[in-house]
């Protein structure tokens, strides 16, 4: 049985409106979780929100009632510290009740600071140490090829995360095997934990690097829903290479005082900041 897009596909402007609404929902849920727990990584939650909304509400095929369906498209949150956004999109997509988001990082909660596939449906692999998602995604894509399945595999990495060599070992393998149903999305917010990527261990020219490893590369505005849907939704049968989407994003996107500010990597809001942010996130 092949899966259909969940929720039911809508077309044109409707779809973009749906994704926009879900992206806002992700940001509001994530920031509420971070505020209540006084823990988390809101800057990276916000830079990734539009990518996640596009994937789950406009691109991927999955059935939250059958989270291990063999034909499902796979998504791996390699930047596993951004569970605020990841758990929120999973709840909005129907994998578990939104009410469960309230337990984020509470004692014995299934919503651990980093995602655990044994705790919640919709998680393919446990992440948290950076540079683990792409190798696993390559394995999933090779398995799909071997068994003649047409599922797609998506992995979202941070940009600082790409300083880990494991990504490039996996990239080499993906290019070598011409894994055209594999898509890497780089959340290119140009900030890592302590500083800008380019003043820590620079990544540019990042597109050339991926190209040299055998990827087709698209550089887009990672907050532009139409562009995201277009590029991520394109039929991979038209490529004979894996795809790398460099999503140019803004860390903290959506809240004026958080945007492009490294202190919000793992900064948490006080009551005033929370109220201000929720006013802006409408």
């Amino acid at each position: 049985m092949s899966l259909t897009l969940a929720p039911a596909p809508v077309s044109g402007a409707d779809r973009i409106d749906l994704v926009r609404a879900k992206a806002l929902g992700i940001r509001r849920c994530a920031f509420t979780m971070v505020h209540d727990a006084q823990l988390g990584h809101p800057g990276g939650d916000f830079s990734a929100a539009d990518v996640l909304a596009s994937l789950y509400f406009g691109v991927m095929r999955y059935d939250p009632a059958e989270p291990r369906h063999p034909d499902r498209d796979r998504f791996i949150m390699s930047k596993g510290h951004c569970t605020g956004a990841f758990y929120s999109v999973l709840a909005l997509a129907g994998y578990f009740p939104e009410a469960q988001l309230k337990t984020y990082m509470q004692p014995l909660s299934k919503l651990n600071g980093h995602p655990n596939r044994n705790y919640l449906p919709g998680i393919e692999t446990n992440t948290g140490p950076l540079g683990h998602g792409l190798p696993v995604a390559v394995g999933i894509a090779i398995a799909g090829k071997l068994s003649g399945k047409d599922y797609r595999t998506f992995v979202l990495t941070g940009d600082g995360e790409l300083q880990e060599g494991s990504n490039w070992e996996a990239a080499m393998a993906a290019g070598h095997h011409r894994l055209n149903r594999l898509t890497v999305i780089v959340d290119r917010n140009r900030l890592q934990q302590g500083d800008r990527t380019e003043s820590t261990n620079g990544l540019d020219p990042l597109d050339d690097k991926w190209r040299a490893f055998g990827f087709h590369v698209e550089m887009i505005d990672g907050h532009d829903h139409a562009a995201l849907l277009d590029v991520l939704g394109a039929d991979p049968a038209g490529r004979d290479k894996p795809l790398c989407v460099i999503a140019n994003t803004i860390k903290g996107k959506g809240v004026s005082f958080m945007e492009d500010n490294v202190s919000w990597h793992h900064g948490v809001p006080n009551a005033d900041q929370f109220a201000q942010a929720m006013k802006e996130l409408i």
């Binding site: 596993g80 990082m105 004692p107 299934k110 919503l111 600071g113 140490p129 060599g165 820590t200 261990n201």
Partner: protein, 319 residues
């Protein structure tokens, strides 16, 4: 970041001592450099970086490279202190630690930051409860687990002066000053902090002050507990362990897995030399979600949990 427990008066975050001591060492010896993985902030090395930007080598999020670069810096005559969250330093870069540092016997100082369950709610990927077991077979990697600021500073000063590989576990959980009976740290020497002959509690790091509190509780019940500071994991003070067995019952306490760390080292020593009933306090494996305080409580890494383990070990003594 995990919820940093509030630091009350009289409690210390050993990372502050780490930062201060590194600056003092660097002032005195220009060969000293730090190597980090986007961890300037979490290692509290912001001040160091400001003073010596060129002696702060940030390789980015790349721990295997970080340890290899450390070995290269040592080859070039520097004294590198490689400072990184202990989980990634010992887990991600374990082969570099083994081959480039231990087996090659290079003059690299590994500083495992926020070890044990210091990252609380961030979960087992960020916990470092396996580090002691992973490092223990690397026999020439001197390994110390300081319990408070005084011991932290002594360990770093020792590491800087010593020619060869050293691992220092830099705890983050706020600890009180421990009433040490010695000055400095001599490799392989345990420290008896409290005399006692019904049971011996062997502990280190964050757990040492809790072991002392457990001994107080036991004393109130008429039980005389010896408390021994086993700061050195490697070399292990075998004599102190065998002496501890003289009480007839031994308890180990560590902010680590009960498999292969201090408990494992002491169990091996007792089994080979002087078997007595023994209890291990530590973590059984991957832990559930929770804050540091919750997890300490949940798994009995508390004065109450340690004294209960001591009573259990005593109850198992042969009549």
């Amino acid at each position: 970041m995990s919820a940093a427990p509030k630091i009350d008066a009289g409690l210390y975050d050993c990372r502050d001592t780490f930062a201060r001591t590194m600056e003092s060492l660097a002032e005195a010896d220009e060969r000293i450099v730090v190597v980090v993985n986007d961890s300037v902030g979490s290692s509290k090395l912001g001040g160091f970086k400001k003073r010596w930007p060129e002696r702060t080598i940030n390789v980015g999020i790349a721990e295997q490279n970080m340890v290899g670069v450390g070995a290269g810096l040592a080859n070039g005559g520097k004294i590198p202190f490689v400072s990184c969250a202990s989980c990634f330093l010992t887990g991600r870069a374990l082969e570099q630690v083994k081959a480039d540092v231990a087996y090659s016997n290079t003059n690299v100082k590994l500083c495992g930051q926020s070890p044990g369950i210091a990252y609380g709610e961030l979960g087992p990927t960020h916990h470092s409860i396996e580090d002691l077991a992973w490092l223990r077979p690397l026999t020439n990697l001197l390994t110390i687990v300081p319990s408070d600021p005084e011991e932290m500073e002594a360990a770093l000063r020792f590491a800087a002066a010593y020619e060869g590989p050293v691992f220092v576990r830099v705890s983050r959980y706020p600890v009180p000053a421990v009433p040490h009976t010695r000055v400095g740290v001599e490799p392989g020497k345990a420290e008896v902090l409290r005399a006692g002959d019904d049971v011996a509690i062997l502990a280190h790091g964050v757990m040492l002050s809790r072991a002392l509190a457990a001994a107080d509780r036991l004393a109130a019940e008429g039980v005389s507990a010896r408390v021994v500071n086993m700061a050195w994991m490697n070399p292990l003070d075998v004599g102190a362990v065998i002496d501890a067995a003289g009480t007839g019952a031994v308890v180990t306490v560590e902010e680590a897995s009960v498999r292969g760390g201090l408990g494992g080292a002491v169990a091996e020593t007792l089994a080979l030399n002087r078997p007595v009933p023994m209890e291990m306090v530590g973590f059984p494996g991957f832990v559930p979600t929770g804050s540091v305080d919750f997890l300490f409580e949940h798994f009995g890494l508390t004065a109450a949990g340690i004294s209960a383990a001591a009573l259990k070990a005593i109850s198992r003594k042969r009549q």
